[in-house]
């Protein structure tokens, strides 16, 4: 295993090179842009044999993905924030047409006000679409998750698109050592994409994208619910096989010193690295603190999250997003799906830095809660 230092963006581009999609329509947007640049270079040098389409907007990027996927080939695109929001209509169409598109999202705040910095509002706002969602903590996990996502999305029992989310700037523009697997190993793990549910071939004509009256629509949507829930088994199997071949084991959640914890923090993405440092520091002082990192957000792993957090007396959930007048989405979904004493903390919006002192503040406020949900780190007098 040779480790190379690279950004999560480069790691994702390496994963795409290994997965070898046929068609890559991409539109640049900060902070995903370098993904589109690495891929352009790979194609220009013949390292990936793909049609690279320099589309004129993100809406066209996802539309071209859907057209190509509908023709029966593997595709890839990447976006962020405004681009993802522009894709919204087609995001729902892609899931409804059961196209196993894999997309990287560099998590970035949504306008307005305009911000290029990190939070998770963009992908969180697509959670109803039927897409699977993984939140990666680092570049290695981003690379691995792209490969696992192709495998799961293209499974005939699933056939739903996936997005792999990485925190903008924090992961996209910092470098870490990453192991890039070899092609032969990847080919063992990821078979060729050969659909039979929908493909455009004059030898066997079919119509994709029909319209359904009230007699059919609801069943088509229920089929998606079944597929998304059913994906859990497929994800578990794919994760095991990935571990066997590549030696890295992924799960729906990652437990960090949480088995005997009294207070557990729950969060997604790169912030968990900071939380782990604080957990270690407090554990050294004898405090029973732990972290449960949610990695797979859709399908929502109710059982796995519950198993991991039920032993704690209180839970603090960090959300880099807000659903106005409701609170943080992860916090609310946990409370909706399980009976635990969980308190919500809205953090880091628009790239606001989350320091160890904020995490300690959150732990104290979880121990002695005064309110169900609150914002942390605001530069305001009275909240």
């Amino acid at each position: 295993m040779v480790l190379k230092v690279m950004s999560a963006n480069q790691a994702i581009a390496e994963a795409v090179k290994l997965a070898n999609p046929n068609v890559i329509p991409v539109y640049p947007i900060t902070p995903q842009t370098t993904i589109s640049e690495y891929l352009a270079k790979f194609v220009a040098d013949g390292d990936i044999k793909a049609e690279y389409i320099r589309v004129e907007s993100e809406h066209s990027a996802i539309s071209a993905c859907l057209g190509a996927s509908g023709t029966g080939v593997r595709v890839f695109t990447a976006t962020s924030s405004q681009g993802l929001a522009l894709m919204h209509e087609i995001i729902f169409a892609a899931a409804g047409l059961r196209a196993p598109i894999v997309m990287a999202d560099a998590n970035r705040a949504l306008s307005a006000p305009l911000s290029i910095w990190n939070d998770q509002q963009d992908s969180i706002s697509e959670r109803d679409s039927g897409w699977m969602q993984i939140y990666a903590e680092n570049g290695q996990e981003a690379l691995d998750s792209i490969l696992i996502s192709y495998r799961v999305s293209e499974d005939k029992e699933v056939l739903l698109p996936s997005m792999v989310c990485i925190d903008g700037f924090i992961l996209t523009h910092t470098v870490e050592p990453v192991d890039v697997p070899g092609k032969e190993d990847v080919d063992k793990f990821l078979p060729l994409y050969k659909p039979d549910h929908a493909y455009l071939d004059p030898k066997r004509p079919m119509s994709i994208g029909t319209f359904t009256d009230p007699n059919y629509y609801m069943e088509a949507r229920h089929d998606m619910e079944v597929a998304l829930e059913g994906a859990k088994k497929v994800i578990t199997k794919a994760n095991s096989e990935f571990a066997e071949i590549f030696g890295r084991k992924y799960d729906f959640v990652e437990k960090y010193r949480s088995d005997d914890a009294d207070i557990i923090l729950v969060a997604m993405g790169s912030i968990c690295s900071s939380i782990k440092d604080v957990v270690d520091e407090l554990r050294d002082k004898g405090e029973k603190i732990g972290l449960v990192r949610v990695r797979v957000f859709r399908p929502f792993p109710t059982d796995e999250i519950y198993e991991a957090i039920k032993g704690a007396s209180k839970i603090g959930v960090l959300d880099k997003n807000v659903s106005f007048s409701i609170g943080g989405v992860l916090h609310n979904e946990i409370k909706a799906k399980m009976d635990v004493d969980a308190y919500g903390f809205i953090v880091g919006l628009g790239g606001r830095d989350i320091k160890p002192e904020h995490i300690k503040e959150i732990i104290e406020k979880t121990k002695n809660p005064t309110t169900q949900s609150q914002w942390i780190g605001l530069n305001k007098e009275d909240i």
Binding site: G96, L97, M206, G209, T210, A220, D223
Partner: protein, 80 residues
């Protein structure tokens, strides 16, 4: 039972829907008068006139384009 993604794998399956029930007027083609100019075949929105100038009444909606475009008045729309 809805197919995956509501894709339809049976090309031309609208043939199950007999739109002939839509019409009020029915075209009658006189093969004696017909000069085989193919106008009616070209201009039928349903494509339901075949090479032998038989009109498929299962689908004819009675729009009257064929009567209008026949240069020798070989087609007459009759009230059904």
């Amino acid at each position: 039972m809805v197919s995956v993604g509501a894709a339809v794998k049976e090309p031309g399956s609208t043939r199950k829907n007999k739109t002939g029930s839509w019409r009020t007027f029915k075209p009658i083609l006189d093969k004696e008068k017909c000069i085989e100019c193919e106008n009616c075949i070209m201009f039928c929105p349903e494509g339901c006139i075949n090479k032998d100038y038989d009109i498929d009444y299962d689908y004819c909606k009675g729009c009257g384009i064929c009567e209008e475009e026949c240069p020798v008045k070989a087609i007459k729309m009759e009230r059904e």
